[in-house]
């Protein structure tokens, strides 16, 4: 047996177990979440939202968000509008079935936290930053954020028109600790 095997194994186990303490705790998305968007004329929600949320209030830098929304789950409250929103004129759900966000960094701010990451939507990947808060509850907590994005940055719809270019996103995600 190589004389370095046991020392190397010990270092690996030690390092591995240390990382479990350093890694941010995971949170499970629970029922009652809301991912809604609104503009001057249109608004709706994405019903299907899933992903992994690693977040530690004391060490936000160690956190990581990797979430996915199913474009076909869009609900504006009107059947014709749903069909229109999923069409190639807007989100093109057949070609781009998911909206994917992966965080790169999370920092603490005066009013809460700020996450920066890549938003992959409608075939365009773009770095975005938005503020959010995390409120602890007895069973877990709630992530909440509200921010604007420009739909033209993601080639969604034609520039101008009746639907505003600035789209407001409101996120409210209750979670429980894994």
């Amino acid at each position: 047996m190589n004389k370095f095997f046991y020392p190397a194994a010990a270092v690996l186990i030690l390092a591995g177990s240390a990382f479990t303490f350093l890694a941010a705790p995971g949170w499970q998305i629970t029922e009652g979440y809301s991912i809604s968007f609104s503009s001057d004329d249109a608004g709706g929600i994405f019903k299907d939202f899933k992903g992994s949320l690693l977040f530690d209030e004391q060490n936000p830098g160690a956190g990581k968000f990797d979430v996915v929304m199913d474009v076909a789950s869009i609900n504006t409250g009107n059947g014709l509008q749903n069909k229109h929103a999923k069409s190639d004129e807007w989100f093109d759900a057949a070609k781009y079935p998911q909206i994917h966000f992966v965080s790169k960094s999370i920092v603490r701010t005066a009013s809460g936290y700020q996450v920066t990451g890549d938003l992959d939507m409608h075939g365009v990947k773009k770095a975005i930053s938005f503020p959010f808060t995390f409120k602890k509850t007895a069973l877990g907590g709630t992530f909440a954020g509200s921010f604007m994005i420009n739909r033209n940055d993601f080639n969604i719809g034609k520039p101008g028109g009746d639907v505003g270019e600035q789209i407001k996103l409101d996120i409210n995600v209750p979670v429980t600790k894994i």
Binding site: K47, G77, N78, G79
Partner: protein, 130 residues
């Protein structure tokens, strides 16, 4: 005339409401699309009753003003108005917790014709043609 047309309006409205409730239940069992938070049993019956009573008032007024032509104009208007009201369920935005808004017009559109259907069916019993 008002008494007869009002009786016709109330009875046809109620029957349209009952038909609407039965249709809503049937629609739910076939499509598993529950719109009861938006269109409750009470709302279906009161809306149908409203349509029936409105038809009774319209019929009486047109009968007085236009005499023999009143019925023809009324029938045309009742059908036309029933068609126009279809824009409502097509354009409505339901609460976003309702999962299948695309199935909503399919449930409500037939109901918009029930008051007219009940009126035209029961009219010979209440009011004899001139």
């Amino acid at each position: 005339m008002m008494k007869k047309s009002l009786a016709l309006g109330i009875i046809s409205g109620l029957l349209a409401g009952i038909a609407g409730v039965i249709y809503a239940r049937l629609y739910y069992s076939i499509n598993e699309a529950d719109f009861s938070p938006v269109v409750s049993t009470v709302k279906i019956i009161t809306a149908s009753l409203f349509g029936g009573v409105l038809a009774a008032i319209g019929y009486t007024l047109l009968d007085r003003w236009l005499k023999a032509r009143g019925e023809i104009v009324f029938n045309l208007l009742f059908t036309l108005i029933s068609f126009i009201t279809l824009l409502g369920p097509i354009a409505v935005r339901l609460p976003r917790n309702i999962d299948t808004p695309e199935l909503f017009p399919g449930m409500v559109i037939p109901m918009h014709f029930f008051p007219a259907l009940a009126w035209f069916t029961l009219k010979p019993i209440f009011i004899k043609s001139k």
